[in-house]
């Protein structure tokens, strides 16, 4: 049906779609979790905030799980190399995520205040830590990660966990954390009223500004001489994947090359700024519904910028550049990519339809009265 090269590019786009789905859907409930201790002071307020995402967090989290599964299926070498290399970062994400299902479901099943406060902070950790670490991971991908392959293609990571926490990666972490929190604040404005709404609005403005500033700073950092990676040997995109068959060099400014070659691509970072600014203005003008749409567009812009800058690289190696993983050589076989393409093509629209329906069914403000009348059944 499609040639191998086309499928490889399609899968790069599809991984992007899954990441974006994660950022839009799980991102907003992680943002809500991050804001929980700050925008809600007493128990009823906390329950209001939690119940805005109560029926949806679990479905949203599947974007993350499926993202993992899709990377396994489509980019097995990336799955193997990144998750074993980022071992402790990955475990920190998983362990932080542990607090979410139990935090949501168990918190209000016991009336004790200490119990409830403890789970509130658990939900904070479950929202904040992954949002931060994903950005840190992306920052490190842009910098390149120290790993190489042995002859049998066993990936070997030679860095430490602490090396991941470098200034640029931390800045990228601030971008992702503020981006998801901003988006979560906009969602919270849609679903709340009164004091919680007012606090969510302040949060939206604070984190919206922070996201724009941090993203701009990261952009300046990348364009003022940061090194990127370039494939220096001939590339046959249709070849069977072998990450050791190429040569790669580190070059200053290489992450800008794609934009220079195809100026239309500047629209992608443009979308991040335009979406972010519009979302900020709309939130300030009490239009949270459209603000939410534009903060989603900002997410598209931010994630897309990182992806486009690095294309065709997915995970460059700083210690052995030729081991770098690219869209061309870290992929599954032609057959698997094709089958998975059809699976994604069929199921993703269905998922979007029933998820939208679920949001529609549960739409409307979560109020004090709702919590009181659902004392036993609400979270």
């Amino acid at each position: 049906m499609f040639d191998y090269e086309t499928l490889k590019v399609i899968w790069w786009l599809l991984v992007g779609v899954l990441l974006l789905g994660f950022a839009i859907m799980d991102g907003h409930d992680m943002g809500v979790g991050t804001l929980l201790p700050f925008v809600a002071k007493d128990d009823v307020e906390r329950r209001i905030v939690i119940n805005t995402v109560g029926p949806h967090w679990d479905g949203n989290q599947v974007w993350f799980i499926t993202g993992g599964g899709a990377i396994f299926a489509a980019w097995p070498l990336v799955y193997a190399t990144a998750f074993s290399g980022f071992y402790w970062a990955m475990l920190a994400v998983l362990w932080a995520l542990f607090f979410r299902p139990v935090g949501f479901d168990y918190r209000s099943k016991v009336a004790n205040t200490t119990w409830r406060t403890a789970w509130d902070w658990g939900l904070f950790i479950g929202g904040m830590v992954p949002a931060l670490i994903f950005g840190v991971a992306f920052g490190n991908l842009l910098l390149g990660v120290p790993f190489h392959f042995e002859d049998n293609l066993m990936p070997v990571y030679t860095g430490t966990f602490w090396a991941l926490l470098n200034p640029f990666a931390l800045l990228a972490g601030v971008v992702s954390l503020s981006m998801l929190t901003f988006h979560g604040a906009n969602f919270l404005m849609i679903r709340t009223e009164g004091t919680v709404y007012a606090r969510a609005k302040s949060a939206s403005i604070i984190f919206g500004v922070l996201m724009l500033v941090a993203f701009a700073a990261a952009g300046v950092w990348v364009s003022s001489g940061m090194s990127g990676y370039v494939i220096t040997s001939a590339v046959d995109p249709n070849a069977l994947p072998n990450p050791l068959a190429k040569t790669v060099e580190l070059q200053a400014g290489a992450w800008l090359v794609n934009f220079q070659k195809q100026p239309l691509l500047w629209l992608v970072p443009g979308a991040a700024f335009a979406g972010g600014l519009l979302a900020l203005l709309l939130a300030a003008k009490d239009r949270p519904g459209t603000a939410f749409v534009f903060s989603a567009i900002a997410e598209l812009g931010v994630i897309g910028t990182a992806g486009v800058a690095m294309f065709p690289f997915v995970m460059p190696s700083s210690s052995d550049p030729r081991s770098s993983l690219t869209v061309w050589d870290s992929v599954s076989s032609h057959l698997t990519l094709e089958i998975m393409f059809w699976a994604a093509l069929i199921f993703t629209p269905i998922i979007i339809v029933y998820t939208s329906w679920a949001y529609k069914v549960m739409s409307g403000k979560i109020t004090k009265a709702y919590i009181q009348s659902h004392e036993r059944s609400a979270y």
């Binding site: 599964g69 396994f72 299926a73 074993s84 990955m90 299902p101 099943k109 036993r376």
Partner: protein, 521 residues
């Protein structure tokens, strides 16, 4: 550097987190359909008590479900974190069902579980019932896809090794999908889940009846659990036999170990009911055997032989010899000698590549393997007998006990005298943990019995890990132990708290123990 310690710790961590995850999965599989059944009765009869039943058992379902989700996240990513070479080597095949599981099953289950809990007053009766069914179907579909993935680890068909990409690649999605090992496993595993759900409901309802609490509520729950459990317990046995037959076909080493068959016996082989297997002396002590039974069960014939461990080791040694050629030729092919001659030699031997790789445990250069190494690797190809033999028998014995308990419960519930059979009710209460034990034993047989392979006959376990340090593994293992112990305590606390409260926890005012309770006349 991958040491034996790293391999053992990785295995321990995977086994611990997978078995822990499976404490929550079977109840989800079974209880989700029981919820759908109760709600169906509610929608058909309009009787409020069935809605309360759906809501109350749904509350317990939710407490369990939360930990199923929590521990499931680990599973999706642990292949990458701890089994990097495995992920590279078979991701082309193994990753696909995992990703489809997410797309087809997890989304369905997880989106609608939210509406199940919070949609009661937002949806019509029929809409809500549909939601409940979709949740149940979603969780059962996820079992299907993960067992397709697991079935492929046991019986890796529809795939071929490519020396260019240095991995297994899918050749037929259809074969992966309709793998007989996977299909047998799926039906056996979900029925085990149904038994678990039914036992949970039967046991807790029996406890209410023994205490004389919530009697009308408990009687109805008991009846539904007894009928559903009876059907499930029968199918778990029949389908377990099917799963065993699949093992005979595809995994003779597993069968030999779980039956303690040291030597090939004349067909039809006897079934060993009891024995004390001695892995050192390679013999069983104190054997009690049923003549012909194993031959009949395993081969469904009177003349086909079931090979014993001795014979299987001889076969393995032969395959290792051929595997050495495969490994050496592969090294040549990847080392620049990509000639037609080498390709032909490799194609002829590549079916035994995995057996050659077994030697990597003892030597980096398999060409230099000594006869002792080959003999040792052949011995490695059989899992340890004693643990296999016993876990399998405990599982089977428990399986039959469920069939008996549910048959009696069903019988007395048909006669409508079960509430007076206090011995039966007590048995049901004490038996609540048993399906979990049976499930864990079953998984132990399936996975320990797959050793020394991660992908049976293809990729040895000791080559499958990540290149992480033993220190990291001790750290992560400690972390998992800490979180999982804490979470289990919290979960059990809530489960007991809400099971004790019973339907009074719904706050409807219709049940004993509520402040505004008004007994019906």
């Amino acid at each position: 550097m991958i040491t034996q310690e790293v391999v053992d710790l990785s295995r321990l961590q995977f086994a611990a987190t997978a078995m822990y995850h499976f404490l929550f999965v079977p109840l989800t599989l079974g209880l989700s359909f029981l919820l759908a059944i109760m709600e169906t009765v509610y929608v058909m009869t309009g009787k409020e008590i069935y809605r309360d039943m759906t809501k109350f058992w749904g509350k317990l379902f939710g407490i369990n479900f939360a930990l199923g989700v929590t521990t499931g996240i680990t599973m999706e990513f642990q292949f990458g974190t701890n089994w990097a070479y495995y992920s590279h080597y078979v991701g082309d095949i193994f990753g696909a069902p995992l990703a489809i599981e997410g797309l087809m099953a997890f989304f369905l289950e997880s989106t609608f579980i939210g509406l199940f809990f919070f949609g009661w007053d937002k949806l019509s009766k029929r809409q809500h019932l549909t939601i409940t069914y979709l949740t149940a179907i979603g969780s059962n579909l996820s079992a299907l896809w993960i067992l397709i993935a697991n079935g492929w680890m046991q019986n890796p068909i529809g795939a071929e090794f490519s020396y260019v990409t240095m991995r297994m690649e899918m050749t037929s999605f259809k074969e992966l999908l309709f793998n007989p090992a996977a299909q047998a496993k799926f039906v056996h595993t979900v029925s085990a889940g149904y038994v678990t759900g039914a036992m949970f409901m039967l046991g807790i309802s029996s406890w209410y009846l023994l205490k004389g609490k919530h009697v009308e509520f408990a009687k109805r729950s008991f009846r539904i659990a007894a009928a559903f459990g009876f059907a499930s317990a029968l199918s778990v046995i029949v389908l377990g036999d099917e799963s065993g037959y699949a093992v005979t076909e595809h995994q003779q080493t597993k069968l030999a170990a779980m039956e303690g068959m040291w030597h090939t016996e004349p067909a039809p082989a006897p079934f060993t009911l009891f024995a004390i297997p001695d892995d050192e002396k390679r013999m069983n002590r104190a054997e009690i055997q049923i003549p012909y039974a194993l031959g009949l069960i395993a081969t469904r014939s009177t003349d086909k032989q079931v090979p014993g461990i001795d014979e299987l080791e001889v076969n393995a040694a032969k395959r290792i010899e051929r595997g050495i050629v495969a490994v050496k030729t592969l090294e040549k092919l990847r080392g620049g000698e990509d000639t037609q001659e080498n390709r032909d030699v490799f194609d002829k031997h590549k079916a035994d590549l995995g057996f050659g790789l077994l030697l990597k445990k003892y030597t980096a250069d398999v060409g230099a393997a000594t006869p002792q190494m080959i003999a040792q690797a052949a011995r490695d190809s059989i899992p340890k007998v004693a643990p296999m033999f016993w876990t399998f028998r405990i599982m089977v014995a428990l399986g039959f006990s469920f069939a008996l308990l549910f048959a009696l419960s069903f019988w007395y519930s048909a006669k409508n005298t079960f509430q007076n059979q206090r011995w039966l009710l007590r048995w049901a209460v004490w038996w609540i943990p048993m399906p979990w034990i049976a499930s864990e034993m079953g998984w132990f047989v399936a996975e320990y019995g797959r050793q020394p392979w991660t992908i049976y006959g293809v990729l040895p376990t000791h080559l499958s890990t990540s290149t992480i340090s033993a220190t990291s593994l001790y750290g992560s293992l400690a972390g998992f132990l800490f979180f999982y112990t804490g979470l289990l305590i919290v979960e059990m606390y809530l489960m007991f708290k809400y099971a004790r409260l019973g339907p009074a926890s719904l706050g409807t005012g219709r049940y004993e123990g509520e402040a505004n309770y008004q007994p019906a006349h």
